[in-house]
Amino acid sequence: MDKKLARLNNSAEDVLEIGGVKLGSRLFVGTGKFAAQALIPEVIKAAAAEVVTMALRRVDWHNPQENILNYLTDDLVLLPNTSGARTAEEAVRIARLARSAGCGDWVKIEVIRDQHYLLPDNFETVKATEILAQEGFTVLPYMSPDLSTARKLVEVGAAAVMPLGAPIGSNRGLKTRELIKILIEEIPLPVIVDAGIGRPSEAAEAMEMGAAAVLVNTAIATAEDPVVMGRAFKLAVEAGRLAHLAGPGARSERAQASSPLTGFLG
């Protein structure tokens, strides 16, 4: 059995390395849309997440707000997103602000002009990635799964690519399955499926395909019991990852052709 593990080059411990950071967990958790922020530490614990995302927003002048960082322990990798950015320039601004807010060097680029489908603008995303990678950020761009764009992102210094499975918050699963498969095959960076994953089974499917990790927010935050759902996703991601490493079994084959193609070999 060891031969299968050896072929998967990272036999002993299955570690995901991004921007020099070694991660044991392949489930990234988003912190938006929770009914109560106080739930977040418990969810992170149940999900065993090591990377969590957050957003930078204008202060609401009339309502007191709590800082999300109050709920996050120091050992987590913080992944601020640039949500709200409509151009590369705005994404760069937000990233710099997030860094000065003490989030570290990681940033999830998210540039969205389209407010109806909330689909990312790949062109602006490449521009923002290039600038921020040069400034020393560990850049994880959220993108529509397009091979040419992904190749450009590699060129300009992205640390991973984050193709969407379906529009943000849609909980519709891996609608872009075939395109993500191509990225996994062709792109020499971790492919992290972000957005669209609505159920643990879909997270498992993405991991089985060979995704390096998945990012889940809405599906956990809006579950009836987010803590239990966090744990369900943890188990699904681990199961999917193991299935990928183990290699799928042979499917049953259909009938043989009437005139064999290799009959001439005798």
């Binding site: 031969k3 050896a6 072929r7 060979g210 290699g247 042979a250 499917r251 043989q256 290799t262 070999l265």
Partner: protein
């Protein structure tokens, strides 16, 4: 990103080092067949003796992949040997410097006449070949030949000694749109033993030649191992990895494969590895197709008519037709041949055979617009 294939291949071999003595089981082959993307380990399994009982199943898959990606079509081309002067001493080749054969080089006028004779058969894709002699058939000569032939052919390929990137760029500008270059063998020791002298001794320079052509912008690159020189399983494995490596790093280049087997030739060299049987050739074609569904596979007239026809559905996409491996000979008397041809049928005969087997013979599937005298002017 600038890692070259030499290092890549070493790393791949290193990774599978633990399996040098491993005996592949049928279950490994079944597992490989179940995977959507084959890796280097699967490739080994499919090339192993354990795959023989599953050859028919692999053949069905290969046929369906080929039809899905290429339709029921076979492209045709002809080789034209421009010169056979050669400074190399490849043990397996008639053009070996030590062999006393008639040495010849076509004049530009002869090149044009030969080209016209080939074009008259309807073929529009031409492959130009020479031995390795910068003195007799240097890049300038090749370029002059390309310019003469440009108006008569839609596509011109070269199968000549390795060039520098800049030289490839110039030939591309003149109208060359594909490079065929066989590594012969990926086993560095065997390579050294069959290339005792001449510039071809430099294994690494040759190994990285296809990459130079890719970087120079040549849109098609055709690889191959001369099957039978070294261990064919290893050589087919490395060839497939080479093709995949180029596809990944140069996604704008169309990568194709050839499957030349050692043929009788002047000199009579017999390699240690033993002959590549028909079954082995079949296995190689099938594995290439399964691993690289989009890659063209070329079958030359080295193989007999009956075998060529049997191999047709297994993944072949391109064939030479009406070929001569002597210098000239289409319009005039040819001299010594590089290797013996087994399928001597004419272009119309090959076309008729393809049609009778339900394939469309394709004389022209792309027109290169580069170079003076091309269709574009």
């Amino acid at each position: 990103m600038v890692s070259m294939f030499y290092d890549f291949l070493l790393a791949q071999r290193q990774q599978l080092k633990a399996y040098e003595e491993y005996t592949f089981q049928e279950s490994d082959v079944r597992q490989a067949l179940a995977r959507e993307q084959l890796d280097a380990f699967d490739l080994k399994a499919l090339l192993s003796p354990a795959a023989l009982p599953l050859l028919e199943e692999m053949a069905e898959r290969a046929r369906s992949l080929t039809v899905r990606n290429f339709g029921r079509t076979i492209s045709l081309f002809a080789p034209l040997y421009l010169a056979n002067y050669c400074t190399n001493r490849c043990l397996y080749c008639s053009f070996n410097h030590n062999n006393e054969i008639e040495r010849r080089k076509l004049s530009l006028e002869e090149v044009e006449l030969e080209g016209q004779a080939i074009a008259a058969t309807g073929l529009a894709h031409l492959l130009l070949l020479t031995g390795e002699s910068r003195r007799h058939s240097g890049p300038d000569y090749i370029q002059a030949c390309v310019e003469r032939l440009r108006p008569s052919f839609a596509s011109l390929g070269i199968e000549i000694y390795p060039l520098a990137e800049e030289e490839y760029r110039q030939l591309y500008e003149s109208g060359v749109d594909s490079l065929t270059l066989f590594q012969e063998t990926y086993d560095e020791n065997v390579y050294a033993s069959v290339h005792p002298a001449g510039p071809k001794r430099d294994y690494r320079w040759r190994l990285e030649t296809p990459e130079r052509a890719c970087r120079a912008g040549i849109p098609g690159v055709n690889l191959g191992a001369l099957l039978g020189l070294g261990d064919w399983r290893e050589d087919a494995w490395a060839t497939a990895l080479h093709a995949r490596y180029l596809q990944k790093h140069y996604p704008d280049v169309e990568i194709a494969l050839s499957i030349p087997r050692l043929r009788p030739h002047v000199g009579g060299f017999q390699p240690q590895a033993g002959p590549v049987t028909d079954a082995a050739l079949v296995q190689i074609i099938l594995v290439y197709r399964l691993y690289l569904p989009r890659a063209g596979i070329t079958l030359s007239t080295r193989e007999s008519p009956s075998l060529r026809e049997a191999l047709l559905p297994l993944g072949i996409t391109k064939m030479s037709a009406g070929s001569l491996t002597s210098v000239g000979g289409y319009a005039s008397e040819g001299g010594s041949t590089q290797f013996e041809i087994a399928d001597e049928r004419s272009v119309p005969e090959i076309a008729a055979m393809l049609r009778s087997r339900g394939y469309q013979p394709v004389f022209c599937d792309w027109i290169n617009l580069k170079g003076k005298g091309s269709v574009a002017g």
